[in-house]
């Protein structure tokens, strides 16, 4: 076993040598490892360090090294080494998306590292955990881990780790859209990296700063950050870093409108990708920037070309991050070229992406709220701890006084007793206060869940009335909402409308406040975008307005809150709670109401977008009918076009070889006349060979044409007795030829199992043919997809793509009642359970943008229904799908 391990290690090191020469620390580490063969803790550390260094350039090597390290550390009972090894392994698991494995390995690692109090490694572990939580979208937990890791790194004096964590926290805040919070962390990272001349850290920090300023729209500052990062990467000779810097700088120049600089930078970026191994997502991004630059600098034709190429590359690898921007660019460029149909199509696509991103926006906002709240809670806890400490100091001081007093003599005993009594009272009071604060924090913790639940309820509706009702129910359960209302601004009427206001549980009639009526809190709150919290209206109204406002409906309130309803910078209206008691609302109530206001604003904005969306859907439905018609033409047209081209290949040989033969025959005659019989014979042999080639390619052309003719034959739209087996066989071949014409690398095994007892059945052959063709084309697409990207669970080694077409007679074969079943099966990745209900709906497609209309299956379904038959699907994820047509015999 030992020998095996060292052999394996040797192999790893040798293969590593051929790779990345730029990983210098790894070089010296592996030399050390080779010379240090003793099985001790030093070896474990070396294994771990090398594994850590290789985790990016050579992850498989990391995996193997970690296994060795875990075994050796286990043998040596070396908890620190094993803990660190497992931390690295955990981050490898999460890098390949095995979150469950990562979780369990991380938790063992945590136990081990905590038991030996190894802060340095624990800091690394916490950073990895934070990264994983961030990827999962659990931002609060992510921040938690990062902050704890930062504290650990600081305690251990590990400045590199501190730099990495600070940069990552900056990144997290950037993701959450809290730029003001991101920048301080990123500048801290820079400061700390500079203090130890940690170049990689400095470059990373500058890049992070560049990115934050870019997202914020502060381009000069962004450019400054990226350029400084580039200078450092140039010092480091890090070609990977340099080309990314060039790309980012090009993008910023483009946004600034400095096109010459944008072009020259993005060219360096793209050239690097062409030179080294090509990464589709990077190419897609670069082409997008290039396209933007062309379109914005007055050449939309080139812009459009690059944007389309960008989209194609993104689709090739399923990269979704910039789809909205890319499709938007296509629409913009096409509009400039007056290609209205393209512009419209991509505009719709782009806004679809925007809708799904708005969903993310809500999720992001919610988690941000939670993260902020968790932070508040932590700060409160820290404040509490400091208070505890102060109290103790005070107590110590008091004990000293007590000693002096004792020494001072009995005379002061009475005075002392009084002092003691008072002190005791103070202490009790302080304790009481502490207790109260503690309770409040505990209750706040459960409020996070409560607020989450309320948020879900509020944002789940798309009708304004339901939203207001839900908000009211929840506010009512939290505070004295004797009066509750939500005002929504109507821009056309320049008024704030209150569609549903509640007073003591009763709905008040509709009313509205003109935006010019400044004697209204609702109007002031809306115009100034300020909160109004009034504890006693009689006393306080003078601060804001001339006379006490008289409500348009219901009784005048005594205390009230008005909050603006905002989403980002967009103000939608106001929310109010009012009470007939003085000072009915505490800070806690205000806090809860603020949070609910954010949810309500998001929900109302959604309802608004939904209304707009509905209008769009109506106009889309009209175009849908036209599209269905053109899809019918397109599916046939696409195939025949491919075949018409494909036939040129054999024709090329037939034409040219026959022309060559004519020439050769002339030459042969000359040779015979000269009496060179040997040469004449050689030419005759060439002629014969060419003749065979002509014959071969002629047959090849024949086969292609036959397929086409069979397809376009007889176009009567009436039912006729048809041999279903023959039909299925023809269309299987046709689909195969069509696909091969488009993609020569395509290959599959086709199996047929036909029931010869079926005979003729009465159908419209072109229509049923179209259905079979569609099902087979889909099956081919599915297996091609599986070949490209195997199912994550079922693996893809030794995959043999198969499409099977089966026909069978079911039930009675005598006269009526019998049914014919046609099955088209593939062994692709299958159809995910969550979309199975949608596959027959028009416009539903899983293919990348532009590749499928989403009408094929919906049309097929309609055709089979028109024949009085059934179209069904059976599928198992990862194993394949089978479509079943049932027709009357």
């Amino acid at each position: 076993m030992e020998k095996k391990i060292s052999l394996l290690l040797f192999g790893l090191i040798v293969s590593y040598n051929f790779l990345h020469a730029q990983v210098k620390p790894a070089d010296s580490l592996h030399n050390l490892l080779v010379s240090h063969t003793q099985e001790d803790t030093i070896r474990v550390n070396l294994l771990n360090d090398l594994a850590y260094e290789l985790r990016r350039p050579k992850p498989e090597a990391t995996d193997s090294l970690i296994k060795l390290s875990v075994i050796l550390a286990g043998k040596l009972n070396y908890a620190k080494g094993k803990g660190y090894a497992l931390a690295i392994q955990g981050s490898r698991f999460y890098a390949i998306l095995k979150y469950k494995e990562a979780d369990s390995v991380f938790s063992i690692s945590k136990q081990l590292l905590e038991s030996v109090k190894d802060r340095k490694d624990e800091a690394y572990l916490l950073r990895s955990l934070g990264n994983m939580k961030m990827d999962e979208g659990n931002y609060a937990a992510s921040l938690d881990n990062f902050l704890a890791g930062l504290k650990m790194a600081q305690a251990a004096g590990d400045i590199k780790q501190e730099v990495e964590i600070e940069r990552t926290i900056g990144y997290l805040y950037n993701v959450l859209g809290e730029y003001e919070k991101a920048i301080p962390y990123q500048t801290d990272a820079l400061k700390h990296a500079e203090s130890i001349d940690y170049k990689i850290g400095m470059s990373g920090a500058y890049n992070a700063i560049g990115k934050t300023y870019k997202t914020q729209g502060n381009y000069p500052a962004s450019l400054d950050g990226y350029t400084k990062g580039l200078r450092i990467d140039e010092q480091l000779k890090d070609s990977n870093g340099i080309f990314i810097d060039y790309g980012n700088i090009g993008d910023v120049y483009e946004r600034m409108g400095n096109y010459p600089e944008a072009f020259s930078h993005i060219k360096v970026y793209l050239d690097f990708l062409w030179g080294s191994h090509r990464l589709e997502d990077r190419v897609s991004w670069g082409e997008w920037v290039l396209g933007k630059a062309f379109t914005h600098s007055g050449d939309p034709a080139k812009g459009l070309q690059h944007a389309k190429y960008s989209l194609e590359q993104a689709n090739k690898v399923g990269w979704r991050l910039y789809l909205r921007e890319i499709t938007q660019l296509i629409a913009e460029s096409a509009a400039k070229l007056k290609q209205w149909d393209t512009a419209y199509k991509y505009q719709v696509l782009s806004s679809n992406y925007k809708d799904s991103l708005t969903g993310q926006e809500i999720a992001r906002k919610t988690t941000m709220l939670q993260a902020n709240f968790e932070l508040d809670k932590k700060q409160a806890e820290i404040a509490l701890l400091t208070k505890d400490k102060q109290l103790q100091i005070e107590e110590n001081r008091r004990e000293k006084i007590f000693l002096f007093a004792l020494l001072g003599g009995l005379a002061s005993l009475i005075v002392f007793a009084v002092v003691l009594y008072r002190n005791n009272r103070q202490k009790q009071k302080a304790n009481l206060l502490l207790q109260k604060q503690k309770e409040e924090i505990d209750s706040k913790a459960s409020n996070v869940e409560l607020l989450g639940e309320i948020g879900r309820k509020i944002t789940s509706s798309l009708s304004v009335e339901t939203i207001i009702g839900t908000v009211y129910d929840n506010v009512n359960s939290l505070m004295d909402a004797s009066v509750f209302g939500i005002g929504i601004y109507n821009d056309a009427l320049k008024a704030i409308e209150f569609p549903a206001t509640y007073e003591n549980g009763q709905a008040l009639p509709f009313y509205s406040n003109s935006i010019n009526d400044e004697n209204r809190f609702a109007v002031l709150c809306f115009i100034r975008r300020e909160e109004f919290i009034i504890g006693d209206l009689e006393k306080e109204y003078k601060d804001y307005m001339q006379h006490i406002p008289r409500p348009k409906a219901g009784k005048p309130p005594v205390s009230l809150i008005y909050l603006p309803l905002k989403v980002k910078d967009n103000i939608l209206g106001v929310i109010t709670v009012q009470s007939f008691q003085k000072n009915a609302f505490s800070d806690y109530h205000l806090y809860m109401l603020r949070t609910i206001a954010i949810y309500a604003a998001i929900a109302l904005e959604n309802a608004e977008s939904f209304k707009k969306l509905n209008l769009t859907v109506d106009s889309l439905k009209k175009t849908q009918k036209q599209l269905i018609q053109s899809e019918k033409m397109a599916s046939l047209g696409e195939l025949t076009a491919g075949i018409a081209h494909e036939i040129q290949n054999p024709l090329n040989f037939v034409n040219n070889f026959s022309e060559v033969n004519t020439e050769l025959i002339e030459e042969m005659k000359e040779e015979i006349n000269k009496g060179n019989l040997e040469d004449a014979k050689a030419i005759a042999n060439d002629i014969a060979e060419n003749e065979q080639k002509i014959n071969h390619h002629g047959k090849r052309a024949d086969a292609i044409v036959k397929g086409m003719l069979q397809h376009s034959r007889s176009s009567s739209a009436t039912k006729e007795p048809t041999d279903i087996n023959k039909l299925a066989d023809e269309y299987l071949r046709l689909a195969y030829h069509g696909l091969r014409a488009k993609d020569k690398s395509f290959n599959a095994t086709m199996k047929t199992d036909f029931d010869e007892t079926i005979g003729n059945i009465n159908i419209i052959p072109q229509d049923i043919g179209r259905v079979i063709l569609n099902l087979i084309t889909n099956a081919f697409y599915a297996i091609a997809e599986k070949k490209k990207s195997p199912h994550p669970l079922k693996g893809g080694e030794n995959y043999e793509p198969i499409v099977t077409v089966t026909t069978k007679r079911l039930g009675s074969s005598l006269g009526d009642g019998g049914k014919i079943e046609i099955r088209v099966a593939d062994n692709g990745n299958g159809i995910p359970q969550k979309v199975i209900d949608k596959i027959f709906q028009p416009f539903f497609t899983t293919k990348p943008t532009g590749q499928g209309t989403g009408l094929g299956l919906s049309l097929s379904y309609d055709i089979i229904k028109a024949h009085g038959g059934e179209l069904k699907v059976e599928t198992k994820e990862g194993e394949g799908a089978e479509f079943i047509i049932l027709l009357q015999a």
Binding site: H645, Q648, N652, N656, L664, K693
Partner: protein, 124 residues
């Protein structure tokens, strides 16, 4: 002049050798053949300094002719070798993409060898 012909159909070699048999005999032209884009890349890397004219098919398994074209035009920037595409798929999309990627000419199959010979003389 050395001409590199890239096509996955092996009969193309026979065809070129026969149609250019006189030019080959008189050493006016020399032909090299590659049966895939990858093979062509390999050949070009090995023969960097030779002036080569490239005639490439577009639809090929593996690396397509268009990928080969953009590779050549990016890698050998100054001066890039002359690349002519020869394809059965003479549609506008294919033509536009080839031109966008920097193709010097675009011929369709069935190939008109008289036309090709004329073009080669001009490109000389």
């Amino acid at each position: 002049m050395k001409i590199l012909v890239v096509d996955d159909e092996k009969d193309m070699q026979t065809l070129f050798e026969q149609r250019f048999r006189k030019e080959i005999r008189n050493h006016e032209a020399e032909f090299v053949f590659a049966y895939s884009g990858e093979e062509a890349v390999f050949y070009l890397d090995e023969h960097v300094h030779e002036a080569v004219l490239i005639l490439s098919d577009i639809n090929m398994p593996g690396m397509s002719g268009l990928e080969l074209l953009s590779y050549i035009k990016h890698k050998y920037a100054s001066p890039p070798p002359v690349v002519m595409m020869i394809t059965a798929y003479g549609d506008a999309d294919n033509y536009n993409e080839a031109m966008h990627l920097g193709a010097d000419d675009f011929l369709t199959k069935p190939l008109d060898f008289n036309l090709l010979k004329e073009k080669l003389k001009i490109k000389n």
